[in-house]
């Protein structure tokens, strides 16, 4: 059973210092996520959802507590080790897409392979086909709609074949039709066995997941 746990958070706490003020963004959050699980992290603004996502994505380290991804603890890891985990284990999708404006769709999609030094041209074509943007491969981001940009961002997050896909408000900047298309794409990826964690305010998206983690004032609501 333990082998099926992909993400294990044990008492995750994150404290920010803003001047003299101490802000406890996460406070002793503990949970396990199974492989292939589709999970939503919900809560009001300032509840600590994005902070949790950043910790899960190895973008930041907890002040205390422990996070294990695929059995490997992130505690005490150097920046280069965290970078390697981001590169190999995690795929990130942002609310604002995070596409580089000077790069074409294909170049944006393959950007992570520049850093991982992996050859993934064939897989990039496959992903592009999967998100239905083969005909847009040479377009720049400003020539795409919001939904198309988000699909490129999702494809980019998958290019290094991550264990877990993390999405921060993936439908937050989209209209309902595009939001629905992104939801369908997540369902498809979930059916293929991918572990997905989405931070969302969108109840439709949250209700479509298998499990919801509700955060309030940095604590997990039971």
């Amino acid at each position: 059973m333990a082998d099926s746990i992909l993400v294990s958070a044990q008492g995750l706490t994150k404290v920010y210092n803003r001047g003299t003020e101490e802000v406890r963004a996460l406070d002793g959050v503990t949970f396990d996520l199974q492989r292939g699980e589709f999970t939503a992290v919900v809560g009001v603004s300032g509840a600590g959802k994005t902070t949790l996502l950043h910790l899960l994505g190895c973008m930041d380290t907890p002040t205390s507590g422990e996070l294990l991804i695929d059995g490997q603890s992130t505690r005490g890891l150097s920046d280069s080790a965290l970078t390697r985990m981001r590169r190999e284990q995690v795929g990130f999708v942002f609310q604002h897409f995070g596409l580089l404006p000077t790069l074409t769709v294909m170049e944006n999609l393959t950007l992570p392979t520049l850093f991982s030094k992996k050859e993934a041209k064939a897989y990039a074509n496959e992903l592009l086909e999967r998100v239905g943007l083969t005909h847009r491969r040479n377009h720049l981001p400003n020539q795409l709609s919001g939904g198309e940009m988000q699909r490129v961002a999702i494809a980019r997050a998958l290019i290094n074949r991550p264990q877990v896909l993390l999405a921060d408000e993936p439908t937050g900047n989209l209209d309902s039709a595009n939001g629905e298309a992104i939801l369908q794409l997540f369902h498809q990826l979930h059916r293929d066995g991918l572990t997905i964690i989405v931070v969302t305010h969108n109840p439709i998206l949250a209700n479509a997941t298998q499990r919801q983690l509700v955060l309030h004032d940095g604590r997990l609501v039971p």
């Binding site: 950043h54 994505g57 973008m59 930041d60 920046d79 280069s80 970078t83 981001r86 590169r87 990130f92 942002f94 995070g98 580089l100 404006p101 000077t102 790069l103 170049e107 393959t110 950007l111 992570p112 392979t113 520049l114 850093f115 991982s116 980019r156 997050a157 290094n160």
Partner: protein, 389 residues
């Protein structure tokens, strides 16, 4: 996709800003390139010119030795003269191999053209060893040996009689044509020494004496002996190596000053590049965060920003060198009018080694200027960068 392509695209994102920054580097590199090319050209030209003179020592009338040397090299009228009798004393000085007497005078026409006449004798062949003459030296009265450029402008052939320019009623016969020397000798008209003294009413006078030594290593001793001879107080003994060194040190002083200015310009340009890239880093903080989130390491970000700076400086260097090459001729004309001892050869001497040095300098400048923005960009925390607005 490669780092080079990515950094190039970033560089081209703000074309106007990049162009202004690049222009700063280009101006500094163009100044540096021109300075080095001028220094090389001047040095080479001066050495060639003194070599063409063929003498180790120049004996001239009392006065400024540099003016006298410049006049002897380029041709002009002299304000004062040596007595012909001094020639014997020079010849008798221990260590002197050849002492060739010269009488020089220049005549100016109303249209501004200048004709330089030189009175010489056979001894000149022992000094001007590189001369190649079609025909003979001027020996008989009326004989004229023409420099290559003079023959071309006068349109005369060997054996032809012609009116001597500027000397009304005087005629000469072309006894020989001097092959081009690539120097001032090409412009001169040579005649027997006695003819020149007579035509210019300077019997028994010389303008200068070209001296070759038996052993160039004994220069100091011979110069001392010449200064100590009876006529020593009435002559200026100018060792050409000393002259070369003195002029070169004057040029070096100027070069040092200009070099400092070029260096300051380079540093200012480097600071400009650094500032531009720092601004770009601030603007692109969020993109840097995105790249960090998709797997870019601190080293990758450093490399990317650093390459961008190096590219701007290298491109600026290429533009600067190109501008300097295109403007070399204009600069040469401008300089020539302002430098009293400028040699006749090319003053601006662009060489591949200078180009390579300038481009390497630009790359080094970029490498140093890129350190701060690259370091700052690489130190950005992924989370802080992602949150940047």
């Amino acid at each position: 996709m490669s780092f080079i392509k990515l950094s190039l695209q970033n560089m081209l994102r703000r074309k106007l800003r990049t162009s202004v920054t690049l222009t700063g580097v280009a101006v500094a590199v163009a100044a540096l390139f021109s300075l080095l090319a001028f220094q090389r050209g001047y040095q080479t030209g001066m050495r060639d010119e003194l070599d063409r003179l063929g003498a180790h020592v120049l004996v001239v009338p009392k006065g400024c030795p540099y003016d006298a040397a410049s006049t002897a090299l380029h041709g002009a009228s002299w304000p004062c003269y040596l007595k012909y009798a001094y020639l014997e004393q020079v010849r008798k000085t221990r260590g002197v191999s050849v002492a060739a007497p010269v009488f020089m005078n220049a005549l100016y026409e109303a249209n501004g053209n200048q004709t330089v006449y030189l009175g010489i004798n056979d001894d000149i062949r022992m000094v001007k060893r590189a001369w190649s003459i079609e025909g003979s030296l001027p020996v008989k009265t009326g004989d004229i040996l023409l420099g290559a450029a003079a023959a071309k402008s006068l349109h005369v052939q060997r054996g032809q009689e012609f009116d001597l320019p500027g000397l009304e009623g005087a005629k000469g016969r072309v006894c020989g044509l001097l092959a081009t020397t690539q120097g001032a000798d090409d412009n001169f008209l040579y005649m027997p020494l006695a003819d020149a003294q007579r035509l210019f009413n300077r019997q028994g006078q010389l303008t200068h004496i070209l001296v070759r030594l038996q052993d160039p290593n004994s220069l100091e001793d011979v110069v001392g002996a010449l200064r100590a001879c009876e006529a020593g107080m009435d002559m200026n003994i100018v060792p050409l190596t000393h002259l070369f060194r003195t002029i070169q040190s004057m040029v070096n002083s100027t070069r040092l000053l200009l070099g400092c200015i070029a260096l300051v310009a380079l540093l200012v340009a480097g600071a400009g590049v650094s500032n531009t890239v720092l601004m770009a880093v601030t603007e692109r903080t969020r993109e840097i965060g995105v790249m960090r989130s998709v797997g870019a390491s601190m080293g990758d970000i450093f490399r990317l920003i650093w390459m961008e700076t190096v590219q701007i400086c290298l491109l600026g260097g290429v533009v600067g060198v190109a501008v300097a090459l295109v403007g070399a001729q204009s600069l040469e004309g401008w300089l020539r009018n302002r430098l009293p001892f400028a040699p006749t050869g090319t003053l601006i001497h662009p060489e591949v080694s200078i180009m390579v040095a300038c481009l390497a300098g630009a790359a080094l400048l970029g490498s140093l200027a890129g350190l701060l923005p690259a370091w700052r960009a690489s130190r950005l925390s992924p989370v802080e960068a992602i949150r940047a607005t």
